[in-house]
Symmetry: C2
Subunit: 284 residues, 2 copies
């Protein structure tokens, strides 16, 4: 593991939570990620991986500290990998807003200056990071992906564009059609410019509406709280449901009365999401 | 609930996490606390309460966000109340150190200026807060108490001095004999002055060694990680074990290889602690 620098290590539920830094080719910057490795993982028993993509302002730490997923990771025998939400550092472009720049990479490959130099989170998450994880940890190549808000958008886009790389996908409170809402329009304008065609490549509702091949469909679960303060203006998960209905995509959208956009919502339903992923992830 | 100001509300595991502020008589200041109320609690089904005391630098939020206790609170039918770790505000005395003043009340009644004006966390936790909770929420008067580090010290002291008010006590990584260690000596000198007799009233190992009446003994559980960076210098839980052995106190000290001082340790064993408390708390 010569390319990985260990930042910290905490024993957790009999396994280990560890944070690493490395020099990323995709982003041309130092990247940080966290790994939770259940105790049953070793070179003779490689386990599958759930990738988690976090939301605006988050780092690799929020999910590991607040979601309570480790207990189920041990019960099901699944590793969890949580990357940071953007490249960071003094040399990396930034913005004063919480919803653009560092902490807000939106899981795209930016094409516009100054963002195109480092903001290639799409390549990082779908290619570089899984290769790094599979080369350095006792995991196999069975992958699923999930995320929250901006990370829910990221998880859906990564999975819809790469159904051969992921066995299942889920999202909490995702930005479901970023092309149509303020958060997405601001980020896509900055990162991708005015090229509407490239916006569509990162719009989950659009991608979902254009899946035509049954073999490209993987199980998908979306959970949305009905007291979420961003539901109407930014999230709009009904767009996913409409698109899935039109194409026959196996998407389940669950609405939960009273739940908001916080990690209290994620913690309440992470067990269900982990069990959902384990149904395909843990078959051998 | 006219005296309570609701700060926030999050649905969580079918119940509610809510934060409140109120004007405290004990501390002469605004105090903040959090409540987790499981869904089965109502005026016809009052539930018992586990009080949680947090450690240095914490507020009412750390435990609720990071311990993952809500799932077990629902399963067992227990409410959780987590007060802030000190009075706060511009008019409240403070110190530049993280281990004295705001965020570091040590659960004592201070007798020395300037701390004696507001730092009466012992009275607040053992008397005012339970009375307020029992008057305003669907709970009964069955109480247990737990905490971490400085809060583990607080939980043990509150329970050992008031065995008629609590049915059980537990602690993670407690400051077990504060009179003998740097954190405790600094805080006790400031809050209590040089009166060694008053130090003993807030020293768990001393109190434990002086319990003579079997009817004053309640079940006690202490969990300690062996990779805890504060174990030797500040925590010293073997002092509790020695004292309990001498008096026959029903204390179990569990040592856990590899675990540190963080919430990753607490989250790993909170289920065990909640089950421990439920054995006495949930009998009717």
């Amino acid at each position: 593991m010569e390319t990985l620098q260990l930042l910290s290590s905490n024993r957790s539920f009999g396994g280990w939570h560890r944070r690493y830094q490395h020099e990323s080719e995709a982003t041309g910057s130092t990247m940080t990620f966290a790994v939770y490795m259940p105790p049953q993982a070793n070179d003779n028993n490689r386990v599958p991986v759930l990738y988690w993509l976090s939301g605006l302002t988050c780092t690799d730490e929020n999910f590991m500290q607040k979601a309570g997923a480790q207990r189920m990771a041990v019960e099901l025998g699944i590793a969890i990998v949580a990357p940071d939400t953007s490249p960071r550092g003094e040399q990396v472009a930034n913005d004063e807003g919480y919803d653009l720049g560092q902490g807000a990479g939106f899981y795209v490959n930016a094409t516009q200056a100054p963002w195109d130099r480092h903001y290639c989170m799409y390549d990082y998450v779908t290619s570089e990071l899984p290769a790094l994880i599979e080369a350095n940890f006792p995991v196999n190549s069975r992958r699923s992906i999930s995320g929250h808000s901006m990370g829910g958008h990221g998880a859906l886009v990564c999975a819809l564009r790469n159904p051969e790389r992921y066995l299942s996908v889920s999202a909490f409170s995702p930005i479901s059609q970023p092309s149509q809402v303020p958060w997405g329009q601001k980020a896509f304008t900055a990162y991708l410019g005015d090229h509407q065609a490239s916006w569509k490549e990162y719009d989950a509702a659009h991608l979902l509406a254009n899946v035509t091949n049954d073999s490209s469909m993987i199980p998908a679960l979306v959970s949305q709280g009905l007291a979420d303060e961003f539901l109407q203006e930014q999230l709009q998960p009904e767009a996913l449901q409409d698109a899935a209905k039109a194409t026959g995509y196996p998407l389940t959208l669950e609405r939960h009365e009273g739940y908001d956009h916080s990690y209290y919502f994620i913690a309440s339903f992470i067990e269900q999401h982990m069990e959902f992923h384990s149904r395909v992830l843990c078959q051998s």
